[in-house]
């Protein structure tokens, strides 16, 4: 290129757009906080006080901070999975159900292996594999329905979320009910020897932290550095052209769903082995939906999504502190939702503005 003058000034303009993009996103976040503050004022609460108590609630002690990290783990895993489907241009709304199915398969594996006297570590590994299979199975379904049945993956996923939850409830009150009394509080707890131990004085298991870090890094590398990631991106941006370039698009759609399901299943197994120790009706804890929000908020960027996931986890944990102010603990959900709405809205306005010009 040295002999030729580049006639399209790409590098400069790209950098400029990137900077502008960041500024726009930041302003959207600020707007979201202003809007949330207005809501708080409306219910006669001091916004600054509320934000302060969220921060104290999230980072005020070791226990609290490690709780945030423990909550970040399934969130970042779910988000990582969703980055694969989003990159391929797919809206995997069924993520929540896929996590639930991971949990179902994990608890099922415990029930099978509980009495065998197998080494607990080996059992836990098998449970994780089972969870992964459950997640993959439940993720391939909307993929297959889309490819062979023409069902939009949003509707497929939405329906399968309900089915997954119903299956969990049926198991809890039916075949897997506690001896004597079936209860909405879940199935019987798994034996202590199968639970992942927390680091002393904290709420966090080192194992799950390592798994999450591996998955986050792996996702960033796969999406940014491999042919696989590049092909997914091509399909997401223009599947017709990608097909003409020689990419077997249906196979890659299914691979994206499969990767997402794999991570969903692992998240489900983590929730069973380190948080709930049983199957409960709300087995996904909303991490699938929250993951969608995080991914959208960062425009599907792997590294930024890990960072924003910390923020979201902190909101969810710090939130509990709000009840001392007489506020409902659903407030974090309000803030998270408003954040995403504003970012998406402002981004839409920006595009409209650019098109006008």
């Amino acid at each position: 290129m040295t002999s030729q003058t580049p006639l399209v000034k790409t590098p400069a303009s790209v950098r400029k757009i990137g900077f502008l993009d960041f500024g726009i996103r930041l302003s959207a976040v600020i707007l979201a906080f202003v809007f949330t503050s207005l809501i708080l004022l409306l219910v006669k609460a001091d916004p600054l006080e509320a934000y302060k108590s969220i921060i104290v609630g999230a980072f005020g002690s070791t226990i609290k901070f490690t709780s945030v990290v423990a909550s970040w783990v399934p969130l970042v895993i779910a988000t990582s999975g969703l980055l694969f489907t989003f990159t391929a241009g797919l809206w995997n709304i069924g993520m929540e159900g896929q996590i639930v199915f991971g949990s179902i398969f994990a608890v099922g594996a415990f029930r099978l292996l509980d009495e065998t006297g197998m080494d607990p570590t080996l059992v836990i590994i098998l449970v994780f594999i089972a969870g992964a299979l459950g997640g993959i199975l439940w993720a391939l379904l909307p993929g297959l329905m889309k490819i062979y049945g023409g069902v939009n993956e949003i509707f497929g996923g939405l329906g399968l979320n309900f089915v997954a939850k119903t299956v969990a409830i049926w198991l809890i009150f039916g075949p897997w009910k506690r001896p004597g009394v079936a209860s909405g509080s879940g199935t019987e707890w798994i034996d202590v020897k199968f639970r992942l131990a927390n680091l002393p004085g904290t709420n966090l298991s080192l194992t799950i932290l390592i798994i999450a870090l591996i998955i986050a890094v792996l996702t960033a590398i796969m999406l940014k550095g491999t042919h696989f990631g590049l092909k997914l991106k091509a399909i997401g941006k223009n599947d017709k052209a990608a097909y003409l370039l020689g990419i077997p698009t249906t196979r890659y759609f299914l691979l994206a769903f499969g990767m997402c399901g794999l991570f969903a299943g692992i998240a489900g197994a983590i929730l069973v082995t380190s948080k709930q120790y049983s199957l409960i009706p709300d087995a996904g804890f909303g991490y699938g939906f929250l993951g969608l929000l995080v991914a959208m908020l960062v425009n599907y960027h792997p590294i930024w999504s890990s960072v924003v996931a910390i923020f979201f986890a902190a909101l969810s944990i710090g939130n509990t502190q709000l009840q001392y102010m007489g506020l409902n603990t659903y407030f974090a959900g309000v803030l998270q939702g408003i954040l995403v709405l504003f970012v998406v809205l402002v981004d839409g306005l920006r595009k409209r503005l650019v098109r006008r010009r």
């Binding site: 580049p6 042919h227 223009n238 017709k240 370039l245």
Partner: protein, 487 residues
Amino acid sequence: MKITLQHIDKSFGKVHANDDINLIIPSGTIQGILGENGAGKSTLMKILTGYYQADSGDILLDDVKVKIASPEDAVMRGIGMLHQDPLDFPPMKVIDNFLLGTKGGLFPKRKDVEKEIVRLSTEFDFQINPDTFVETMTVGERQQLEILRLLWLGVKVLILDEPTTGISANQKEKLFATLVKLAGQGLTVIFVSHKLEEVELLCNRVAVFRQGRLVGEMEPPYSTDQFVYMMFGKSVETGEKTSFCKDDSYIKLNGIGIEDYRLHLKNINLEIKCGEVIGLAGMEGSGQRLFLRMLAGLMRPVSGKILFDEVDFTGKNYLAFQKAGVAYLPASRLEEGLIPGMTLTEHFILSEEHHELFVDQKTAVDLTEERIRAFYIKGTPVSQIEQLSGGNQQRALLALLRNRLRLILMEHPTRGLDIESAIWIWSKMKERCKDCASIVFTSSDLDEILQYSDRILVFFGGLVSPPLDAKSTSVDELGQLIGGKGW
């Protein structure tokens, strides 16, 4: 209504689509607008119906200067257009399609409208039942429906854009009778077509367009030869004709039939020789695209066999065809050929087969720079593909072609390019022919087809001509065939 167009000018970027058009259409006439694809007919009609605004010039309706702001505005002023693809709502009933166009009122007057449909329908001898679902109707019936709807809305000018594509002979007769009747009632009918025969049969006067200009007007008696001359102009002087056609053939088509919802191509037999270039001539939508997509494995033939080196490829998918050495370059570059939002380098990585896990950025950038130089692409390895100009996108598309191809399928390979680029692109393609690749391409430029093809297939309304030898065919002969004469 009398329509006067004064000095209408419209450009899209570098393309001068309408160049100082002056035309007066008196009321009660059937005005023919004749010309090749891309001659500027549709642009002018879209200006008249408010889809586009002219860059300069005036439109006068009954000698009053007007500004037509939108298609709705045009209908309100009494100008209605029947599009090539009917703009109705297939999953709804006929009556609902009518009601959608009505203004005001919370509850539509269903009964009244129903009566009107029946009345209009009998007046023109159409069989349109208000309770039929539109999706069950044929293209011809949907066209009748749209005419009725426009008349019901009170239009005084009816524009028809290539209305006879995809309708039966009987429906065509009925359509023509209707148009004559409407003109008799004082309506102005504008009939846009490339079919000489129809224009000659139907129109009171004809305006011929070529390359954005109105090149001539005629009234009966018409001379076909003069029409052809006006439509295609003189043949342009182009370089020496080269051919790398060899005797052995790699691809054989036996009794191929292809269908889509409006066209049925039947019993095509063809052997494509190594190094041969086959040009597909015909008006857009006459089946050339179907033929190319069939050859690419993107569309399954309903009958017959495709053989590559005597191996049956019928029913295999595009990826299998691609492995066998087939490449397909679609006309809509940014929709089908390239991926907006990705860089040139990313495109080159995707276009090659890779078996390693990680992307080797350095090699990829080197390859991209080499291709940028070889194909004179004005851009850098990190240029997003949509930032390139149309011509450079076309060069990029060609640069993405893999090595060792056996069959290259191209839709309008030089459309929108200047002559120099076009000649350059063909020199690149002929190099491929030297390496024994065969080329099948479509073009609306007859000179291009005659210049670069060894043989030519002409497509007309679902018919495919036997292969014509390009050396012994003239622009006039081709023009006649494309216009539906001499079949």
